[in-house]
């Protein structure tokens, strides 16, 4: 349907995945690959930045569910940040705020990781 791209940036020992465009059943494999790669490299502290994400479908939400168990077992976490109201709404409907920590800014999420390690 439309374009989707990701970029991983390392910040203070936390991996930040920036999402851009439309995340749906067709583009989800690209994000899955990112998660697999991070897990293979034992990078379990992950922040996902939704600032430039225009749309997420249910299949896109499924990606986060697929890896969270493995990541939490390894004392890591996926934290979500900077969602537009529209994207937050979709997460909220499904009850994702009950399963994930969602922050207003990327720094807050990274700081949360720092606190927990101290």
């Amino acid at each position: 349907m439309a374009e989707f791209s990701t970029a991983i940036i390392e910040k203070d020992n936390v991996s930040v995945i920036n999402l851009k465009g439309y995340l749906d059943a067709h583009t989800a494999p690209a994000l899955e690959e990112n998660f697999t790669q991070l897990i293979d490299n034992k990078r379990f502290k992950i922040v996902v930045n939704f600032e430039e994400l225009a749309y997420i479908s249910s299949a896109g939400l499924g990606v986060f569910m697929a890896y969270i168990e493995n990541i939490r077992e390894n004392k890591g976490d996926i934290k979500l940040t900077t969602m537009s109201d529209k994207v937050y709404n979709i997460f909220d409907l499904l009850g994702f705020p009950l399963l994930y920590e969602i922050f207003k800014t990327e720094d807050e999420a990274i700081n949360k990781f720092k606190e927990s390690t101290n």
Binding site: A2, A54, S57, L61, M65, A66, L93, G95, L98, L99
Partner: protein
């Protein structure tokens, strides 16, 4: 070049030649011109051996270089001219070296013997080269084995030479004559079919015409000096009458062959270009058209490709080197006349010579070279390889091989190069066809998915007195996994569900079927929406993979108590349209299949609403709110509720119709991406406790 020359001397056959030449010299010194039959036989055998070893050495040299017919002919011409000069100057040189040459012939001294053996060796070398060159020319361009004819002729030439000893006697001269005539007949027979001329271009044919006439003349002159009374003829005659006869017949062979060559070339000349083009076109059209019909199955195609390669370039074996998709191993497929072990050995050799990724054009290799000989069971020698490309990417390599000394000629080389191009196109076609079949298969699969979905959804809405029920479902091309259903519990109680499976296509359709089964069975034993969703989650958390989940809202309308009970598992809120306002009923709750039972239960709430007359309950999936126009704006919740409020006076059926009309209008320039589901329940009238019922409207059907 210097290394190959060095190799010749190291070569055991050349050493044997030198040894036999030395023996020949010693023999002449010790026995001279004896009349003893035994000695004559031994001498002839020695000469024959010397020629044989020399032929073998030259033969090895031929194999190491890529000779063309024209280069052979040029060499024969040069040698002929050289021999012509030797014969012409023999008289002068010999008379300078020796006082009385004629006397020497009968009583040779050491020096004379040495000189004569050298002279004989010179003649022998010439003969060996000419015989071999004629043999190579004979086999050029011949597709099948013609060795029998050639070897028979050689045998008769040898017999004719050996019987030359009888030519002086009156009684037995017929033997020698008979063999001589037979040899000439066989020579004629072997010289008529010169097929390789057809493969030469016009310029080469003209060049060949001039060369062949010159060489014919030289052969005739050399032949006639053999029978004259000059020193050359006498020296040969006294050395060995058999050798003299052999020389004569060889010269004659040369003369005949090159005369034939001259005329054949002459006849080919006018039609040279046209013939070339026609021959190429005919064989190409015939073979290549076969390929086009063979694109349905890749394996069939590969078999046809190698089969045709075999014929197009007269190869002894053909196969395709293919890179296995799964493990990147190189394998041989569609092998023709070659075992997998042999092709494996050759594949390794080819891949060691050239890089797979940059394998650009047709290449030729020789396996049997002195330094690094590649041995195969079937003794393959010449290899031609050409890339099979699709969309500029190398998919495989087409290989052809020949046994022994038959190298690929220019025509064969051109043929394999052209053919691999055609084969590439066919392989690409076959791939495209496979893709379109795959696409068709996917479409069929989606048809099946839509069919499943249609069967899962309720055929008609239930009839409840005092309750209007309307439902609309519009499937997306890729089945979106929407599901709704009604569960009549009693005359006054109706359970209903709306759900959306994450993901699309046939897998979503199957999960829908599973979800339907779960809700259908749970609704028979449990009434409370919260309990039903907890149980449903418990089943689905184990049944679904970790990235799949189902959003659902389950409700129960109790017409007697005038109440709506509702629990929501991650689904869009249920809307309550009451007079001019729309209330979102959105109790907390996670999607089904996201979390284990305890946490799911902890976070799940149930809400109940006291219904009043004309309350409208609207259930929907995100296919409505996320419907898009051409600038990718969402239809949105606000617009949705606006339409609901505007039409709150109408029946459930009419309301549903208006909403769908607006959604359709809004997204008319954008394809429908997700399923659209809309269920509307409108409560018209309360049911009296005493059981007497009144109603105004019956529920309309959509």
């Amino acid at each position: 070049m210097s290394t190959t020359t060095a190799n010749i001397f190291k070569n055991s056959q050349f050493q044997l030649f030198l040894l036999s030449a030395l023996t020949l010299f010693l023999f002449k010194v010790f026995f001279g011109n004896s009349d003893s039959t035994t000695l004559i036989v031994i001498l002839d055998l020695l000469i024959a051996l010397t020629i044989f070893f020399l032929v073998l050495s030259i033969y090895n040299y031929f194999n190491k270089k890529d000779f063309t017919p024209l280069s052979f002919i040029m060499n024969v011409g040069i040698l002929n001219a050289f021999i012509f000069f030797i014969i012409s100057f023999a008289d002068i040189i010999m008379s300078v070296l020796f006082d009385n040459v004629n006397e020497r012939l009968n009583s040779p001294g050491l020096v004379y013997n040495f000189v004569s053996v050298l002279y004989i060796l010179l003649i022998i070398s010439f003969l060996a080269y000419v015989i071999l060159a004629l043999r190579q020319l004979h086999f050029f361009g011949q597709s099948k084995n013609l060795k029998v004819y050639f070897n028979t002729m050689l045998v008769f030439i040898l017999l004719a030479s050996a019987s030359a000893h009888f030519s002086d006697s009156k009684e037995y001269s017929f033997i020698s004559d008979t063999f001589f005539i037979l040899s000439v007949l066989l020579i004629l027979f072997n010289s008529v079919k010169i097929s390789w001329i057809a493969f030469l271009v016009k310029k080469e044919k003209i060049y060949l015409l001039i060369l062949s006439i010159v060489i014919t003349v030289l052969f005739i002159i050399n032949f006639s000096s053999n029978t004259g009374t000059n020193i050359h003829s006498q020296m040969l005659g006294t050395f060995s009458p058999a050798l003299k006869q052999f020389t004569s017949i060889t010269m004659l062979y040369g003369a005949i062959y090159f005369t034939m060559l001259f005329f054949t070339t002459l006849f080919h000349l006018p039609t040279a270009e046209a013939y070339d083009r026609k021959a190429e076109e005919v064989s190409s059209l015939q073979y290549f058209s076969k390929l086009i019909t063979q694109v349905l199955d890749f394996n069939d195609l590969a078999e046809t490709v190698t089969d045709i390669t075999l014929r197009v370039c007269h190869a002894d074996a053909s196969w395709i080197i293919w890179k296995n998709k799964d493990d990147d191993e190189f394998v041989s497929i569609a092998n023709k006349n070659i075992g997998f072990i042999d092709s494996g050995i050759i594949n390794k050799f080819i891949l060691s010579k050239s890089d797979w990724e940059t394998f650009g054009e047709t290449k030729f290799y020789q396996l049997k070279k002195n330094e690094s000989s590649i041995k195969t069971e079937k003794n393959f020698n010449w290899i031609a390889v050409s890339p099979l490309k699709a969309r500029g990417e190398i998919k495989g390599i087409l290989a052809a091989a020949r046994i022994e000394d038959r190298n690929f000629n220019n025509e064969d080389k051109k043929a394999i190069a052209t053919f691999s191009d055609y084969a590439s196109v066919s392989i690409e076609n076959s791939r495209l066809l496979e893709e379109s079949i795959e696409k068709e298969r996917l479409e069929k699969e989606l048809d099946v998915a839509r069919e499943i979905q249609k069967k899962i959804l309720p055929e008609k809405n239930p009839d409840y007195k005092g309750l209007e029920i309307s439902s609309v479902f519009i499937p997306a091309f890729e089945v979106g996994g929407d599901y709704y259903d009604f569960f009549p519990i009693s005359e006054t109680k109706l359970g209903f569900v709306i759900a959306d499976v994450s993901g699309k296509g046939i897998s979503a359709a199957f999960i829908m079927a599973e979800v339907k089964g779960i809700f259908e069975s749970l609704s028979k034993t449990i009434e409370q929406p919260k309990e039903i969703l907890i149980k449903a989650n418990q089943i689905l958390i184990n049944a679904l993979d970790s990235k799949t989940f189902v959003s659902a809202a389950y409700g129960l309308i109790d017409l007697e108590k005038e109440k709506l009970f509702l629990a929501r598992a991650g689904h869009c809120p249920v809307l309550l349209l009451r007079k001019e306002s729309v209330e979102k009923i959105k109790p907390s709750g996670l999607g089904l299949g996201l979390s284990d039972t305890d946490y799911f239960e902890q976070t799940l709430d149930e809400m109940n609403v006291d219904l009043i007359e004309n309350d409208t309950i609207v259930l929907y999936t995100d296919g409505i709110t996320e419907a898009k126009n051409d600038s990718l704006d969402d239809f949105g919740e606000n617009y949705f509720t606006e339409i609901l409020v505007e039409n709150n006076e109408t029946s459930a059926h009419e309301l549903a119709k208006r909403v769908i009309k607006e959604v359709t209008l809004f997204s008319k320039d954008h394809s429908q991406y997700d399923d659209i589901t809309l269920v509307i329940l409108k409560w018209k009238q309360k049911i009296k406790i005493n059981g007497e019922k009144e109603w105004q409207n019956s529920a309309p059907q959509l």
